[in-house]
Symmetry: C2
Subunit: 432 residues, 2 copies
C-alpha cells in the first residue's frame, strides 16, 4: 500500500522530490478565532477563561476549581496502578540523568589584552507547559517537557490542561507530581495560551510556553510569540528506518507501525538495499496492521504517506536521509555508527537492531520532543537549553578601552553613527 | 524630556507598568503583500526576482548580474579606506576568537546499564544572511551574523542584500569578504527571503535565514518559518544604564544617545540612586543632542521612550532590571559583578565605567545581535549554537532492551498506543 521508490529508476529524483514535499497536514485557518479569544482573555481575564471553559469543555468553575488542588494531585498519584507509577518513576529518573548532562557551563575569561568576556546562562524565570486533553493527553509528554525545565532550574513551572467536565487523565497528574509540578490549571485551548502569555487574576504570566496542542493551541502560540517565547510548533511525526536484510522483517514492520498509529498524517519510511527484504517488511506491515486497535489511523498513514525506498547500497541512503531529515532515524545494521557519521540531519538516531524508537519515547532518557516535518535540517529536540538563556558579558578597564577605541570609532563613523563614535571618544577626550 | 519615575512614589508600580508596556513600534500589516510575493517567487523563480528588483530597487538584471562577482568583492575590499579595513579585520578576529569558545562538545556515553546515549552537534547545511540596504546596511552586522555561522562549520553561507540600482555599500562587501562569504546576491525584501527559503534557478535554497530587515523582511521570515529556520525577529533596540553618582554624567549621556540615535523607537533608560546625578545626566543629554547628526531621531527616541528611574539604593534596581530585561545593560559602579549576579534578565552586560555598550557593537568580540523588547526574559543573543543543531543518540543491546522493555510496554499501554507496545514486545517474544 505504501509507495515504492527505486533510487536507480530514471524518474527517482522527480518522484522523491514530490514525496518530500507532500503536505501531511491539513492546516485549518483558525487565526481569526484565536485572535479574538486572546483579546478577550487580555480584556476579561478569569471571566473569559470561565466562559470558554464552560463552552468548550463543559466545565463550570463555580463547581470545580480552576486550579488542581494538592489533594487531587496526591490522590491521582496514590491511586495510579503501581506498575504505571513505577514505570513513570523509572522514566523520570532516566530522563533527569540524561538531561543533567546538558546543563551548560558559564564561560567567563580574560583575553590577551585584559578584556573580560563571558557567557552566563540563567534559567527562564517562569515557564508554562501545555498538555493536551483527551486521547493525546500523554503522561510521558509531561515528563519530557517538565523535567528539562526543572533541571534548568526554572523557579516556576505551570501546567495547563483542558479538562472535559473537570476530568484530567490521572496518569498525567501523577506524572506532573513526579516531575515536581504543583501549579496546574484546568484550562486548555487558545484561552490557556493567552492566560499564560498575558496573565489573569488567577494565573500569573510566564516567559515561555512549551508543549504540543491542536490547531488552536498552535495558532495561539504563534500569535503570542514575542510577548513570550515558544518551543517549536510540532507537526505530524515521522520515522525513517535504514535497514539491511539481516533484520527480522516483523521487528521493523512493528517500528513503522508504531509511528503510523500516532496520526493519519504520520509518516513511516523504510530504506533498504534488498528488495526481497523490503517486500517481507511490507507483508509484515499488512499482517500486523490487522491486529492494531488503531488500525484505521495506522492504515491511512501507511497508505497515504508510507514509503519503501530501494537503494543499491546503504551508503546511497545518506543523501536521501539528509533530505528527509527525519524526526526519528533508526539504523538497523551491524555498524550503525559508521552510517550515522555521514548523516547530517536527524532529530534522533536509534542505533542497531535492538533499539526500537519506542524506547526513546518513554524510558531511553533522551527527549521525545523532536523536530518534525524536515525541520531537523535546522532545529533540535527539546533540551535543558530551551529553558535557559545566555547573557554575554563584557568588561574593559581604562587601558583596554584606550586600545579598542580607535577601531570602534572608525567603524561607528563608517556606519554614520556619530553618537556611537562619541560614546567611545568622550571617555578618551572630554572635548570629543 | 524623558520621563522620570521614582520607585518610592505611591504611583510607581502603575507608571512603571505602563512604561514597560508602551509599544515602541508601529506594526504595519504587510502580511497579504508578502504572501503574494512569496507565492510569486515559488511560481516564477528568477523571473519574479527580476521583476521585483526592477520595481523596488530600480535594478535591471539584464544590465547588472544578480550575483556579485569575485572581482567586485575583491575591488570593494581593495578600495576600502585602509583604516576601515583594518578595523573590520580586528573586529572579525575578536569576534571569531570569542565565538570559537561557544562551539558545543558532543557528549556520547554509556550509562550504568550499558545503554549508549548521546548528543551530537552538527552545523546547519546552508544558511542565508539577510543584510538590509540603504542607511541600515552595516558592515558590523555582516561580521556578527556571518562569523558565528562560519565558526559553526556551515558549509554554505549565502548573503542577500538589496542594491538600489545595483549599488551595495562597499564596506558591506568588504566585511563579507573578510567573513569568507563569496555567494552574494543583489536581491532584497520579501522576494529575497522567499528565494532563500524555496530556491530559484539561480539561488539554491538554504535551511535557515538570519539577519535583520524591514517590516516586509520580518513578515516574510515569519511566513517561511517552518520551511526553514529563522533567527529572532529584531525589534527596536534598548539600553539600560544602572549608575551611581561616581560617574561622569557626560559619558553616560553619550551612551544613552548612542542607543537613541538608532531609531525613533529605540529606548534609553537610566536607573540611579542619586537624583542630582540623574539631573546632570539629563542636562548632558540635552547638551549633546544638539551636536548629533541624527539629532531628530535621537531626540524623538529620548522624548518618547527615554526614562530616568530613581531608586533609594542600587539593590532596588534588580527587580526593575529583570522586568525591563534590557537588550543592553550597563552597570557603571565599582563592583558591577555583585549587581549582575542578582539580575536574571539581560541580553548583554557591560560592566564598569570603561565599557560603553558601543564597544560591544563593534570590537568587543561578543555578538551585537541581542534580544530586544523584553525578550531577554526568554531568549539569547546570536551565537554559534544558532547555526548548529543537536541530534540525540540511543543504542541498546539485547540485554538493555530486555531491562527497559517492561516499563516501556507499560507506559505505551497506559497511553493506549498498542503498536508502540508491540514494537518493543515483538523483540522479546515473536508471538507478541
Amino acid at each position: 500500500m505504501a509507495i515504492w521508490l527505486n533510487q536507480q529508476a530514471a524518474d527517482f529524483e522527480a518522484r522523491f522530490k514530490a514525496f518530500l514535499t507532500t503536505k501531511r497536514e491539513v492546516s485549518e485557518d483558525v487565526n481569526a478565532a484565536v485572535k479574538s479569544i486572546i483579546s478577550d482573555v487580555i480584556a476579561r481575564g478569569d471571566v473569559a477563561l470561565a466562559d470558554y471553559s464552560l463552552k468548550f469543555d463543559g466545565l463550570d468553575f463555580n463547581r470545580i476549581s480552576m486550579r488542581v488542588t494538592a489533594t487531587e494531585l496526591d490522590e491521582a498519584y496514590r491511586d495510579l496502578d503501581p506498575a504505571i507509577r513505577d514505570a513513570l518513576h523509572l522514566a523520570a529518573e532516566r530522563i533527569e540523568k540524561h538531561h543533567r548532562r546538558q546543563l551548560p557551563k558559564d564561560d567567563i575569561y580574560e583575553d590577551a589584552i585584559g578584556v573580560t568576556l563571558g557567557s552566563r546562562w540563567t534559567a527562564i524565570e517562569a515557564v508554562g507547559l501545555y498538555v493536551p486533553g483527551g486521547m493525546a493527553s500523554y503522561p510521558s509528554s509531561v515528563l519530557m517537557n517538565a523535567i528539562p525545565a526543572r533541571v534548568a532550574g526554572v523557579p516556576r513551572i505551570v501546567m495547563v490542561v483542558p479538562a472535559r467536565e473537570g476530568a484530567i487523565n490521572p496518569a498525567v497528574l501523577a506524572a506532573a507530581k513526579i516531575a515536581g509540578i504543583d501549579e496546574i490549571y484546568r484550562v486548555g485551548g487558545a484561552q490557556a495560551v493567552a492566560a499564560l502569555a498575558y496573565g489573569t487574576e488567577t494565573i500569573a504570566p510566564v516567559a515561555k510556553i512549551t508543549g504540543p496542542g491542536n490547531a488552536f493551541v498552535a495558532a495561539a502560540k504563534r500569535q503570542v510569540f514575542g510577548t513570550v517565547g515558544i518551543d517549536m510548533i510540532a507537526g505530524p511525526s515521522e520515522v525513517l528506518v535504514i535497514a539491511d536484510r539481516d533484520n527480522d522483517p516483523d521487528w521493523l514492520a512493528a517500528d513503522l507501525l508504531a509511528q503510523a498509529e500516532h496520526d493519519t498524517g504520520a509518516q513511516s519510511i523504510l530504506i533498504t538495499n534488498d528488495e526481497t527484504f523490503g517486500r517481507s517488511v511490507e507483508q509484515a506491515v499488512e499482517r500486523q496492521l490487522k491486529r492494531l486497535s488503531r488500525n484505521e489511523t495506522a492504515s491511512a498513514s501507511w497508505r497515504d504517506f508510507g514509503a519503501i525506498i530501494l537503494v543499491p547500497d546503504l551508503e546511497a541512503s545518506v543523501p536521501l536521509a539528509d533530505r528527509i531529515a527525519a524526526e526519528h532515524l533508526e539504523i538497523a545494521t551491524d555498524n550503525p555508527e559508521a552510517l550515522m557519521a555521514k548523516i547530517r540531519n536527524a532529530g534522533a538516531f536509534f542505533l542497531g537492531r535492538h533499539t526500537p524508537e519506542v524506547i526513546g519515547d518513554y524510558v531511553g532518557g533522551s527527549n521525545h520532543v523532536l523536530p518534525t516535518a524536515r525541520s531537523a535540517r535546522f532545529s533540535s529536540g527539546l533540551s535543558v537549553l530551551d529553558y535557559m538563556k545566555r547573557s554575554s558579558i563584557l568588561r574593559l578597564g581604562a587601558e583596554q578601552l584606550r586600545q579598542l577605541a580607535p577601531p570602534a570609532i572608525t567603524l561607528a563613523n563608517c556606519e554614520g553613527l556619530d553618537a556611537h563614535a562619541r560614546s567611545v571618544a568622550i571617555r578618551l577626550n572630554p572635548e570629543a
